[in-house]
Structures are given as structure tokens and as C-alpha cells.
Subunit: 247 residues, 2 copies
DNA sequence: CGGGAGGTTGAAATCACTCAATTAGAGTGG
DNA sequence: CCACTCTAATTGAGTGATTTCAACCTCCCG
């Protein structure tokens, strides 16, 4: 564990999507005291039902919120990429209803709740940006509900991969309709409420249909418009402006 | 449309679950200027992609957030009962990703965004209570994700009915393991991602198993512990304390 | 070279859907 | 008070989607 200044600048970059800040506000965010930790893949960061004293900011790698039901099956609620706060809920509620684990090896920054509370009370603009981020998070959950409720397995998977493209692109981690997807088919299955066998079949069907190709953890989208039309993807719920470059 | 003072006291009652307020704060909430409207069943209150200037507070009746996909199927995201704010997201984001409609005839209060923004900026305790309410809302979405992803149709339906019991009880609208459920099986189906035919079969299976009885829109739970054990219901995500009276 | 995790494929079984027909109940007009 | 109508609930039969179980492959890493 080491404390490094300016690690929180990745948070600033993210929050600036949701509002413009003064120089003072910017400095307040980047100078948040953080504790950096390097974690292996598959490690829990936050555990269900526990009270937290810190919020967790992803600096590198992927993580997910999830819950394991009594029969042992896992439901993944969200994927988190660098710049994401994984558990701002813990800022306001005494206990979490989910766990958070890394999906890859990762570097995370823990920010003390007290400092975030100070930040919010002193700088209303920052509070608004956090509100917006939280609302987008909720909108993503709703989008996943649509996927499981009304979309076919193919459409749901395609829609999720669109969503990840737009998020990654906004974070500077994807371009040219291609990105690194460092998770297994089993993880996708747990997110979509499908079996890993079926995710495999769905992926090969989408490959056959020429919609995209996923191999060696690299996703290559062939045509953005075809893909979004196919799965009825409307990025407005993410409140990001995708800069789609037609390949 | 009429403006009535003190209609917002139902909002106060709800928010007081999430924090204690001073007399000044209480007054500020109850004296929010509201516009009351009486609506029939099945009317839209908020429409997808539109910008709102007011938040909608349920005074009487039920409403739901929903989205209709391109193939015409509807996914319901949440149910709202008296005391609920249906769209605080509109306070911070320029456009909604869902619509809101009444499920029964209803009375709703519209509160201007500007007044809510004032309230939040002047009274941090009220802002915290709103944060908490928003987080519980997100936790409910996650719970529905678990229902569609890992639970069987029977368990998911039973779990939803548990959730509604706890919410209604906290609002003083249910007691003695019984409540009025003023929605059709088709609405339940759209919430659970099932067909209305299957909801019907699942209901009759649960009735046969003696878990609960739903007839004439009255739900009677036979034994709370049996029910919660059956569907793996843990109410902690609602951050309410259920006062279950064993029948 | 061996082990293990993840990916792929096939076959059978299950869950839930669609389609279609029937019943029940609430409201309406004559 | 009775037909009429509409919506919701119910039931049956057949279909389709997805799961489970099992086997096998592949690749990476030690």
C-alpha cells in the first residue's frame, strides 16, 4: 500500500464528462488522498453486507459488482473499468447489497469516505457530477433488465458489447470499433443470466452473422450501424457522446 | 390542477426513514410548492427521452417506470407507491431513459426542479436522504436483475411480492401479511420478463404449494418465514425494517 | 511435457413462450 | 334486469429457446 498524489486525476477526467469544474474544484479532486493497492484477478474488494469506510476507484483493470444466490449461482450487476467508482453507495448507506471483485489483475485507489463527504459538501458542482454518474449507473442496470427481460440472448449480448465499447471509448480504452475484452465467456454468462455454453453458441452465431468477431479477448466490430440496428442500441442512456469511427 | 399545501408531507414521511430532520428541514419539505394532478390508469406521466422540469411524487395509486423495445415488448423497471419519487434522475440528467405511467388511477404531485435544487443546496441532510433513496432504488433494480438472471420464475415472482410487501408495510399500506395488489398479471409479466400466461401458471403453482394466495387483487401470504426461505428474500437491501406480524 | 482453465460441440431435457380457445368479472346501455 | 362487450384470467397443446450433462479440444503456463 502506497499513497500517491494525483492518482485521482482519472476520476477528474471521468467526472468532467458530467460538468465543468473550476480550477479549485479540479485541484480538490486530484489531490484527494488515496491509498493505492495492486490486486490479482478474482479478488474481492468489497464484500456483501459489510460496512465500508472507503470508496474504491478503479485505476487499472476490470472489476464487477455481483451477488451470489443461495443456490450458488452468481449474478453480475455491472462491469467497472478504469475511472469508475465501484461503490459510491457505501458513502450513504450503512451496508452494501453486493460484493465487488476484480475480474483481471487491477490497481485500485481507496478514497476515505470522510474526504468525499467533505468534497461534496464544499463543492456542489462535484456533488452534481457524482449524482449524474450514479444515475447513469442506474440506467445501465435498467438496460441490463431490458436485456434479460425482452431481448433475445443474441441481442442482449450484442447490446452489452455496444455499451462496453461506448464506455471504453469514452475512457480512451477503445477505438476503431475494437477493444480488449479481458473477461471469460463464463463472466459474460453471469452478467447476462445465461449459461456459459449458451454464451459460446451465441457468440459463434454473431460471428457467423458477421456482426462482430471476438477471439483472443479482442472484440472487433465490423459495422457500427449494423450492430446497433441489430440489437436496438441507443447510447443516450450512457450520457456520453460516442465518437464512432467507421472502419 | 390545483396547488395544495402540505401534500408533500407524504414525502417527508418517506425521507424520514433515511435520516432525522430538524423542524426547519421538515417545514421546508412539507411546504414545497406542488401541483396536484389526478390521473386515470395507464396514463404517461413522464415520457422517454424528454426533458423534465418537475419531479413527480406519488400521492395515491401505483405507477411504474418502463421502456418499450423496438419489437413492442414492454419492460417494467420499478413500481411506485404513494410516497415515492418516480423520476429524481431528471433532477440531474437532461433526458430520461424511461417513461413513467400510472398503473391505477392516481394522484400525483409535481414539484419544480428548481425548488428541489434549492432544498438540496440549503439542507445537506435532505440531500443525503435523497441519495439514500436513490441508492435503494438502484438496489431494487439489482434485485430484479437477480430475479431474471438466476432465480426461477416462481422464486422471482415470490421475491417481488415480498419486496412489495415490505415497501407497502413501511408506507402503512399493508399489514397482517396481506395487501391490495392493484395490477394485472400482464403487468407482473412485464416486470419479471415473463409472458402473462406463464405468470398465471406460476401464480397457480405458488397457490397450490400453499405459499400465498392472490385473488381479486388481494395477496395473502400464509407464512412469512416459509415465503422468504422459499425465494431467498433478504430485506436488508431495502433499508427498511419490516415489522412482520406472524399471522 | 503435464495440468488446468477456458472454449467448443452434441444430445437430451426443461423451462417458458406462442397460439388458440374458454371462462370469469366488471361495466354499460337498453 | 338482462344482453352485450371488453378486459383479465385460465387452460391446453405444440413449439422454441436455453439448460444441463458430458465429452473433447486448445492453449497457456509451470
Amino acid at each position: 500500500m502506497t499513497a500517491t498524489p494525483h492518482s485521482a486525476s482519472i476520476l477528474l477526467r471521468k467526472l468532467e464528462r458530467f460538468g465543468t469544474f473550476s480550477e479549485v474544484e479540479r485541484r480538490a479532486i486530484t489531490e484527494l488522498p488515496v491509498t493505492i493497492r495492486s490486486l490479482g484477478a478474482g479478488q474481492d474488494i468489497v464484500r456483501d453486507h459489510e460496512r465500508q469506510s472507503h470508496c474504491c476507484l478503479m485505476l487499472d483493470g476490470w472489476a464487477s459488482r455481483y451477488q451470489v444466490c443461495s443456490r450458488g449461482k452468481r449474478q453480475i450487476f455491472s462491469f467497472h473499468i478504469p475511472g469508475d467508482l465501484t461503490d459510491y453507495q457505501s458513502l450513504h448507506l450503512p451496508a452494501n447489497d453486493y460484493s465487488v471483485c476484480t475480474l483481471t489483475s487491477a490497481i485500485v485507489a481507496f478514497i476515505p469516505h470522510e474526504r468525499l463527504h467533505e468534497l461534496i459538501s464544499i463543492f456542489p458542482q462535484i456533488a452534481v457530477a457524482l449524482w449524474r454518474d450514479a444515475h447513469v449507473d442506474a440506467a445501465i442496470s435498467r438496460s441490463w433488465l431490458v436485456g434479460m427481460g425482452v431481448r433475445t440472448a443474441c441481442e442482449a449480448l450484442a447490446h452489452l458489447l455496444c455499451e462496453l465499447y461506448v464506455k471504453l471509448e469514452a475512457a480512451g480504452l477503445a477505438a476503431n470499433l475494437r477493444y480488449h475484452l479481458p473477461i471469460t465467456q463464463g463472466v459474460l454468462a453471469d452478467a447476462l443470466g445465461l449459461s456459459n455454453v449458451h454464451v459460446n453458441r451465441v457468440l459463434s452465431e454473431l460471428r457467423t452473422r458477421g456482426i462482430f468477431t471476438l477471439s483472443n479477448h479482442v472484440l472487433q466490430i465490423h459495422n457500427w450501424n449494423d450492430l446497433t440496428r441489430y440489437c436496438d442500441f441507443d447510447p443516450s442512456y450512457l450520457h456520453l457522446v460516442p465518437q464512432i469511427a467507421e472502419a
